[in-house]
């Protein structure tokens, strides 16, 4: 995720390399107009499409409700009747995982969006603002870093109560400082790059410089952060559930299912494996897709 962001600062501003890259990619483009789709890309798109469909229309995949409690059917192993088995309350795990897609993906996307959104604001303010402002922003970020993020989430939820909304905000807040630092770095890079300096010398307006030189440098890594962050945020939310705070029952949320299923890991493995699988699938698909898009961006 950070390969662009932290590893090639010197080269970004170096004219020789840019020209060489331009020639190479022009050559590729002439032959690559067909935009060959790699199998990894295709699979990730399919997986994400499936997850989005499951979020929007869960009843397409299962007729059983996620909250249909039936204590008499508790702890049934996966079978034809119950593809993913039943949980401690006799609820169908497959139904819960499918119906939980919308909740979990929402948490993942919202928390990431919140974190990245805050990060962009902080990063832009710090990177573009005058020195004193940057100083304050950097100090603020340092203080946030010095706080264990799980604790921030814990305290936030203790104050505002557990639930999906507070979990999302807690996780988003916890991830913001990390992203903010990276974005600020990118903004500074762009600001100090040869192109930006040239633009200033040429008398271009501040807004134009920001839009044409800073933002593109930020949006690229931003996208990667968002895709990588998806899995992370769902996992963070599940750690909060593990500590007893998080999505409120009977919410069918993958992370919460993972946390509550842990107690039964020795006698009902299906309670953790399937929600965990979906978390991992979302993370892998999002990351792979993000990487491919970034790869395409680099090639064009």
């Amino acid at each position: 995720m950070t390969q662009d962001l932290l590893s090639r600062p010197a080269e970004a501003g170096s004219p020789t390399i840019e020209r060489a890259d331009a020639t190479a990619s022009a050559a590729r483009n002439r032959f690559g107009r067909l935009r060959r789709i790699r199998p990894v890309e295709a699979v990730s798109v399919l997986v994400l499409a499936f997850l989005v469909l499951a979020s929007l229309a869960p009843t397409l995949f299962t007729a059983i409700g996620p909250f249909d409690t039936s204590p008499a059917d508790a702890f049934r192993a996966p079978s034809l009747d119950h593809l993913f088995g039943t949980d401690q309350n006799g609820r169908d795990v497959f139904a819960r995982v499918i119906h939980g897609s919308s909740t979990s993906l929402l948490i993942g996307i919202s928390a990431t969006a919140l974190g990245v959104g805050l990060a962009v604001i902080l990063g832009l303010i710090g990177g573009l603002g005058p020195k004193p402002v940057d100083f304050v922003v950097t100090r603020f970020l340092e203080v946030m870093f010095a706080f264990p993020s799980l604790l921030l989430g814990l305290i936030f939820i203790t104050v505002f109560g557990s639930g999906i909304v507070t979990s999302t905000i807690a996780v988003g807040l916890a991830t913001a400082p990390g992203y903010a630092r990276i974005i600020r770095g990118q903004v500074l890079l762009a600001r100090n790059s040869g192109y930006a300096e040239a633009a200033v010398a040429l008398g271009r307006s501040r807004t134009r410089i920001i839009v044409r030189h800073v933002l593109p440098n930020v949006l690229g890594p931003l996208f990667v952060l968002v895709t990588l962050g998806l899995g992370q945020t769902i996992v963070w939310a599940s750690s909060l559930s593990f500590l007893g705070l998080g999505a409120v029952p009977p919410a069918a949320e993958w992370g919460a299912m993972l946390a509550s299923g842990r107690a039964y890991i020795a006698n009902a493995w299906w309670l953790t494996v399937f929600p965990g699988l979906f978390i991992v699938l979302s993370a892998v698909a999002a990351t792979a897709l993000g990487r491919s898009i970034q790869q395409r961006g680099r090639e064009s």
Partner: protein, 546 residues
């Protein structure tokens, strides 16, 4: 396939084979010798929170009671039938007016620091518990009716009461009213928290906070409780008392042999426990008010008895216990534990009847809304259920979710409010809940006064033990009278009547008795018993084969 990949694959396959082989291997169980042998260290892992103070007179909760049972004893011993027997005290006499208890101290007993146990020690301890500076809660409350203690001779102490108290002897059988060395008490509260001195079979040697407590054998031990299987010093050299709060980890430690005995065995671990022939489960009911759901009758909607009854009737507790508790706990139909005298069962008050529930709600004016939740005057029938997020067993959480689902069937929306312990107490204190879970460990039917007497809706030290808000004059009268009566038959009738009224008011629904749930490595540890008063394990008779 590269060489690297090949190696990786074969390592993986080998690991899988080893794992499968090991899984099927059963640890051999050794034949146990009938004769106890002396020696060895027993490792015990508790699932309760670590106590903040090892002196059970200061504050007084279950974690403290669990560990101090090993090194502190009480004046009296309560048997399984609830009968009071002598222990440190050799006898007692109650005056005619019921206001004076004359207690005789057994002779020949000393504390582990050499101080003699006598009537002065009895007085010193009761004064200590009653002293506000000690910050005792459980003990002090139990001694609320005590006016003073008088020492008439070396072995006789007289406790003067302000009003008769039929529960006093029962209280004096609890380790929350401990008998500690007066010399030790004089060291000050902090020192007594670190290393209390009692007459028990073990002595506190060291306490590494957030790690473990080490207890060593008291070689001069001379006061075994009634029911003990031997006399003289304990068999064990020492006990390492650990704290492993995570249920799965604690049980895993038992399986691997890192610990010899664990408590709070989770229901989901029972199957694995029973599969191992080297592990034994020992469960016993604790006395007092069982694990229950209490309904806040001080505010809507549970201020309406019909709504309360409807909620209770919507629950299918039996199905819940069968599923998430794997049928390992018995349903309770009484507001008193099976281990406490004077309890009566009122199953009709708590039986499932979904149709009746719906009928009651209709009668109460709550009509079914389009979303399945009932409404009245623009308000929806939504109640909040206060849960202790970090201390409740997974099985309990699952049970509460089942209750939520069954309440929804009749149109009641239950919101589960899972908070940490401090927040929970803050909300309880402010009556900021509709449903809460509750229990109270006490070896006397007098616990009903704590739970159901209207006087206990008052906040005391940030807590009111009456969590239902019940304020019934008849119940108050019955319970207070029973607390003063020394006549068994009278007490039986009074308590029975009070329990009937409480049940008929649908203020709460008991689920199961609190339990001591021990997991024991039977190839290593033998002879573990519980002290019936609070059903707490004692390792006095335990011995090891390794």
């Amino acid at each position: 396939m590269s060489a690297f990949t090949k190696t990786t694959a074969s390592i993986g396959a080998a690991a899988l084979l080893i794992a499968l082989a090991a899984c099927s291997a059963e640890p051999a169980s050794s034949s146990t010798d009938a004769t106890p042998v002396s020696g060895g260290t027993l490792t015990f892992a508790s699932g309760d929170a670590e106590p903040t103070c090892l002196d059970p007179a200061q504050s007084g909760n279950v974690p403290q009671a669990l560990v101090s049972t090993q090194y502190i004893e009480s004046l009296f011993y309560q048997s399984e039938d609830g009968e009071i027997e002598p222990w440190l005290a050799s006898g007692w006499e109650l005056s005619e007016d019921g206001l004076d208890y004359t207690i005789t101290a057994q002779s020949g007993i000393s504390f582990s620091d050499g101080t003699a146990f006598d009537a002065e020690a009895i007085k010193a301890n009761i004064d200590y518990i009653r002293d506000p500076a000690t910050k005792s809660s459980t003990g002090a409350y139990a001694l609320a009716k005590v006016d003073s203690v008088e020492v008439t001779d070396n072995t006789t102490a007289v406790i003067h009461l302000t009003s008769p108290d039929s529960a006093l002897l029962e209280s004096l059988s609890q380790v929350w009213l401990p008998i500690q060395s007066p010399t030790a008490l004089e060291r000050g509260l902090e020192a007594n928290c670190e290393s209390p001195v009692g007459t028990g079979p073990f002595i506190v040697e060291s306490w590494e906070k957030q790690s473990s407590i080490t207890l060593v054998r008291n070689d001069d031990y001379t006061s075994p409780p009634p029911g003990a299987s031997h006399t003289g010093p304990a068999y064990l050299d020492s006990i390492v008392w650990k704290f492993i709060p995570d249920d799965a980890s604690r049980f895993a430690a038992l399986q691997t042999g890192e610990v010899d005995v664990v408590d709070r065995v989770a229901p989901e671990s029972l199957a694995a426990l029973e599969a191992h022939s080297s592990l034994t489960f020992e469960g016993s009911s604790r006395p007092g008010y069982p694990e229950s759901l209490v309904l806040n009758s001080t505010k809507a909607p549970f201020d309406d008895v019909k709504v309360r009854e409807a909620f209770i009737r919507s629950l299918d507790i039996d199905a819940g216990l069968e599923s998430v508790y794997f049928g390992s706990v018995d349903r309770s139909n009484s507001v008193l534990s099976t281990a406490t005298k004077y309890g009566i069962e009122t199953p009709d008050a708590y039986s499932t009847d979904v149709d009746k529930a719906k009928e009651l709600l209709d009668e109460a004016g709550w009509t079914l809304g389009s979303d399945g939740i009932r409404e009245k005057d623009g308000e929806s029938l939504t109640v909040s259920f206060l849960i202790n997020g970090d201390q409740v067993l997974a099985a309990q959480k699952a049970l509460y979710e089942q209750f939520q689902a069954s309440a929804k069937q009749v149109g009641i929306e239950v919101k589960l409010n899972s908070v940490d312990v401090a927040t929970r107490y803050a909300q309880l204190a402010e009556w900021d809940y509709d449903i809460a879970s509750a229990y109270y460990t006490k070896n006397s039917a007098d616990v009903l006064r704590l739970i159901f007497d209207s006087a206990n809706t008052e906040l005391v030290g940030g807590y009111h033990s009456n969590t239902t808000g019940i304020a019934d004059k008849d119940v108050d009268k019955l319970l207070r009278a029973a607390a003063e009566s020394a006549d068994e038959d009278e007490r039986t009738d009074l308590y029975a009547e009070a329990q009937e009224i409480v049940a008929a008011g649908y203020y709460q629904v008991p689920i199961f008795d609190q339990q001591t749930r021990l997991g024991i490595k039977n190839t290593v540890v033998h002879g573990t018993r519980v002290i019936p008063a609070l059903s707490l394990p004692t390792f006095y008779d335990s011995w090891l084969t390794r």
